[in-house]
Symmetry: C2
Subunit: 340 residues, 2 copies
Amino acid sequence: MQLNIKMIAEMAGVSVSTVSKIMNNYSDVSEKTKQRVLEIIEQTGYSPSNSAKTLATKKSSLIGVIFAGELNVDFTHPFFVEVLNSFKKQMGVLGYDLIFFSNEKFLSSGDYFSRCLHFHVDGCVIISGQKMESAIRELDMSSIPCIGVDLELKGKKSGYVMSDNYQISSKVVEHFYLLGYRELGFIGSTADSDISNLREAGYIKAIEGFGLTVNEQWFVHGEDFFEPSGYEAMQRLIASGPLPKAVFAASDLLALGAIRALKEHGLRIPEDIALVGCDDIEACKYTTPTLTTIRQNKERLGVLAAHMLFDLINNQSEGGSFVVEPALVVRESCGSRKHP
Amino acid sequence: MQLNIKMIAEMAGVSVSTVSKIMNNYSDVSEKTKQRVLEIIEQTGYSPSNSAKTLATKKSSLIGVIFAGELNVDFTHPFFVEVLNSFKKQMGVLGYDLIFFSNEKFLSSGDYFSRCLHFHVDGCVIISGQKMESAIRELDMSSIPCIGVDLELKGKKSGYVMSDNYQISSKVVEHFYLLGYRELGFIGSTADSDISNLREAGYIKAIEGFGLTVNEQWFVHGEDFFEPSGYEAMQRLIASGPLPKAVFAASDLLALGAIRALKEHGLRIPEDIALVGCDDIEACKYTTPTLTTIRQNKERLGVLAAHMLFDLINNQSEGGSFVVEPALVVRESCGSRKHP
DNA sequence: TATAGTAAAGAAACCGGTTTCGATTCTGTT
DNA sequence: AACAGAATCGAAACCGGTTTCTTTACTATA
């Protein structure tokens, strides 16, 4: 038989209510009985049933984690997974556990909202590089506290965290500029992605800010943020005529694919073309040449997401957003000498 | 107000019990009322409270996921995370969701068993490259169905999946042998790790099986399975005298670290020393030279783990283990020509 | 000593489901 | 028409907690 509150009450010779009060720090219980009961709880290792507690209080201490968007983003995604890791740690410290919703087909059109109700989650975090689907929109607009990671949630009980994408792009352009590169290209994603669009817009703005001209021929797009798209995009760039001197890829995986394509064509990095990625995933350190990239502070993104969600759950904030400053990580893929 | 079974019952003009019976496929309910109620459920999008259901049935449709061991293994681990991904997908298809236990300090000595009871999980999966801790042992011996990934669980309601580590090693040795390498080294981990020990034992056995001699000077160990340990282990190997002609690293990350050390010393791969890793993580494709490695069928490991756990939960099996066959992935790090 | 006020504890309703068991209605048979 | 048996449905107890409200015991004050 499972240990329950009634058994604890009997062992201590008190009522069930008294035990409950002790576990929830009510004040109307004498110090003496409190100690006695706590000792029994300690000895027996009693832990109250989460279901019963949730049923009674409508609070579950559970945070729902949603990988939104069509496939693609899951535990194997090198960027999100690090944010998630930090988020999980921080949420654990705050006393919450994480529950992951399966988004398999058999779910009625990925109805995240009703799953949140089903599990009585206190809040949830939505991870996605893609534009909003309607199921997410519904959740965003609901009364369930939500935090988006790289996803702009606007609901009254929602917020989001992301890196400063404009600044990402401008740091890249500045780096290129100072090294003497003037003919700049871009590899983005056509996936319905706010992130890609923001980075591209910022990139264009920064180029113009430095008084350079934007050549749209050097702007190509893969269908997502993964390696094969980068390969394929660079193939097109190579095929389409004279190359830019430097290219910014909106993700490291895109850059990795681009490297593969360049190598196949016997082009040297950075002598023939310089390259900067984005995300600073592990693999950047192992390529030849090693990949200059933008480091997003994933740990901080996770911690911020956790704290924002906590505040939202406890009505201590009104939502909003946090933007985290990126950092340029200089490695070998842009060379070091001034270019003509 | 939250939609609940009573409201559905009222709307349909039937009793609560009838609604419950319909949702649980009882037979003593007429087709007519069944259709009427189902229609209302459909329209309203009603989804029964998991807490209430769990409280009443003691089944939660939740699977606990535990990252065991001291830190180190978490969402960012390139191997486990892929197994987990496949596991999650399969478990989703089987109708379960995943809950991740925080293993933060504030938990009384990581008492996984009581957390399982707390959440009424139907079963759990334990992921770890390290030897058993007592908290895991307790869970293993309990009546809660458990599956270990790379962790030998022996309890009556437990099972495990792992790759055939002996075969991993023997495939590597065979590869070395056929390419003409005779002087073989090994980089393992001193972490209390069954995996490292199994691979090392299998490696030695295979070397002897080919009639070669084992030189223990060429067997070095890092303190874990990560890149810095590989770097540091290779440093020691280089410092300690004449090098072997080929080295098997018990993980790709160890191999990556070894590559870094070799490059720093101006040693060429594979001309001066050949290298094989293990796991086939993404990064293998991006190193120079690309890394020959052993591919573990992570997807299959995840699927097997899911099905074993499902059977265990439904009393359709007695536990046991599944061993998955590994495959050699030949890339550039061993060269291709026969060595003298 | 009587009384008011406070501290401590418990009874009971409630959360939203499940499940047993008894009641009622519907068949078909003689 | 009477009745057995099956089909259908609902009442109520239960799961393990929380919380309100009442009761009881104790303390302090006049």
